[in-house]
Symmetry: C2
Subunit: 371 residues, 2 copies
């Protein structure tokens, strides 16, 4: 059993609704609300399950998007009231994380906060706990710290963190100074990165003392910092709703990566701890197929639902269907077949990155009901 | 306007239920009951529409399979009672055609009967009428006559008829003696056949005087001939049901091709009239895709239902879906996507011939409900 890390709080932004797993994920039912691994637990539930041993149940704060609040609360009955912060509208991750950090800091001025996406898959809990433990040491030392995922291949689907010198911190032997963050590279660059041994995948996990995080915010996004402070001050009062309604829409819509991680790294105040644990953001159906391959074995058709109802003849890939419907796939070795009540997607893992464009085309045709 | 050909009767066996267009066609809803061309008329209705100008409404006899009788009658309200003969159980095409011929012969001893499949597509009515007219001349001359389709390509999906000398019949200038029937050839053989100019596709159309046809039956299938005669004798009496029930199950289950066409050709009593009209038996989804290409143009996705609900990104082929469901196909240039309420098929036109095996696998798994 892992012992909770004193003073550590976990923030889980659960508001995004991408279209890369459309039509499986929808705006009203994004992937963190789905069980994508066939374990019986949704990605959000798995995220909480993974973090509770490190922060305890009282250490969890989920920031739920406006369309998902009720579903988030329903999926996490173990959390006390107040553990779910409801954002009035989507403003990307920075306002959500900052608000949660400000609320946590009012209750625990010495808190260290870690932000973790609600829709990633992690395997290897002990390795995860070790990395977080080292990151907390770096955070206590004043850094904004991120976890860098050891690349298993030269992925072009992820951004990278370039590591510099080791910090030489007691209790954080693997922590390094961050040189820079880089966006998704091309294949040649990715191969160079992975070969160098100095680049890790950016998994969007950030750990810092709450006061440090909010200090960086005041420096790089001063207007947002003012707004967050105003909201947090009245959070436990009857003015919460009024102030939220007034201030929240004025906050800049920006991700923490761009708002803080990049400028703080440029200023030399960012560190990275490499994580050897398994990780994926399930960024498209090819990634989901790869994830499920760990259960099903190579070459097989991965089936997330109704396995007896799927028949493959010289076919492989991923089939997701529901209910009693049978699916037959013939002669497509890398098929992706996603069947839902109102939308059917047929493609291959090689074209998985184009699913977003397909969803957007439906939107362009006025079919918002499908998103 | 075509004038009906005196004494010609059309027999339309409508009993088969193949699995090559599964899951679109089902045992209870075979392809002749479906509108596969988007014209608003089913293949059975189109078959009747094509033959009525040649034989008149009273000249149509449909032999309906036991599971399809009600649907056949419902689709053909223009036919008088008695025009639909209901077989008690499927015995392939020979007993069905022989019974219809025997019933017709009792009413018109000089009748010429022509047998035409209920689920083929013909284009070019004038050319069709001309070929049938010549075939009737050959039939009046005592031949069992077939229509040979002029091959458009060296198909391996069809059987072939090899033609010998021209008959030199007045009124049937294109009629030739049949040398032999050959089963579906391999690609090399098919190319040789088509290059020779002496081979036509066997479209399963047979025209003969009813007494000639029944005479050949008596010679090659004497027990069946006895049984058919026994049934026909009581057809208009109160004993029909009893005799049918007693005799029908004893009749050999055999196609007219094997029961009559092959032995009669071997005996030199078979002729063939080439047909220049367009013809397909829609033997698989590749053939359906090709058929619909005439309407939709090359390279496009052919959509049989809900065109606005289908989106293709670098994709082509065939999509059949129903209702309001949207279908998105990405990156598969020759896709076949057949979506029904209880079964979804995903394959490519190149694998269309394997659909039958897929349907049979479901049967092997005890899923007769899907067939």
């Amino acid at each position: 059993m892992t012992t909770p890390i004193p003073g550590l709080h976990a923030i889980i932004p659960a508001g995004g609704a991408g279209t890369r797993l459309w039509p499986l994920s929808r705006a009203a039912r994004p992937k963190f609300l789905l069980d994508l691994t066939g374990t019986g637990r949704t990605l959000l539930q798995q995220t909480v399950d993974r973090l509770v041993p490190l922060v305890g149940v009282p250490g969890i704060t989920v920031v739920a998007g406006v369309r998902h609040g009720a579903a988030v609360v329903a999926q996490l009955p173990e959390l006390p009231p107040g553990a779910v912060v409801h954002e009035p509208s989507p403003r990307d991750s920075m306002p959500a994380i900052a608000l949660a950090a400000a609320i946590i800091a009012r209750g625990d001025p010495d808190a260290v906060v870690g932000s973790f996406a609600a829709d990633h898959v992690v395997t290897g809990d002990a390795l995860f706990a070790d990395a977080i433990g080292q990151a907390v040491v770096a955070a206590r030392n004043g850094d904004l710290c991120t976890i860098g995922i050891t690349p298993t291949h030269p992925s072009v689907a992820y951004g990278y963190v370039e590591a510099g010198d080791a910090l030489g911190l007691a209790g954080a032997p693997d922590a390094h100074r961050v040189v820079r963050f880089v966006e998704k590279p091309d294949a040649v660059t990715a191969t160079k990165y992975v070969g160098s041994g100095c680049f890790w995948w950016n998994a969007g996990m950030f750990i810092a003392r709450a006061d440090v995080l909010l200090g960086h915010l005041a420096e790089h996004q001063p207007r947002m910092a003012d707004g967050i402070r105003a909201i947090a001050e009245v959070w436990e009062t009857g003015h919460r709703a009024d102030v939220l309604e007034q201030v929240w829409p004025t906050l800049t819509k920006i991700a923490i990566d761009h708002a803080l991680a990049e400028p703080v790294a440029a200023a030399g105040a960012m560190s990275v701890v490499p994580g050897e644990f398994g990780w994926t953001d399930i960024g498209d159906f090819a990634a989901l197929d790869e994830l499920l391959a760990r259960y099903a074995g190579e070459g097989a058709l991965r089936v997330l639902d109704g396995g007896d109802n799927v028949q493959a003849i010289d076919a492989g890939g991923l089939v997701i269907a529901h209910g009693d419907k049978v699916v037959t796939v013939i002669g497509i070795p890398d098929a992706v077949v996603i069947d839902t009540a109102d939308a059917l997607l047929v493609t291959t893992t090689g074209h998985a990155q184009r699913v977003r464009a397909a969803a957007e085309r439906w939107r362009d045709q006025g079919r918002d009901d499908l998103l």
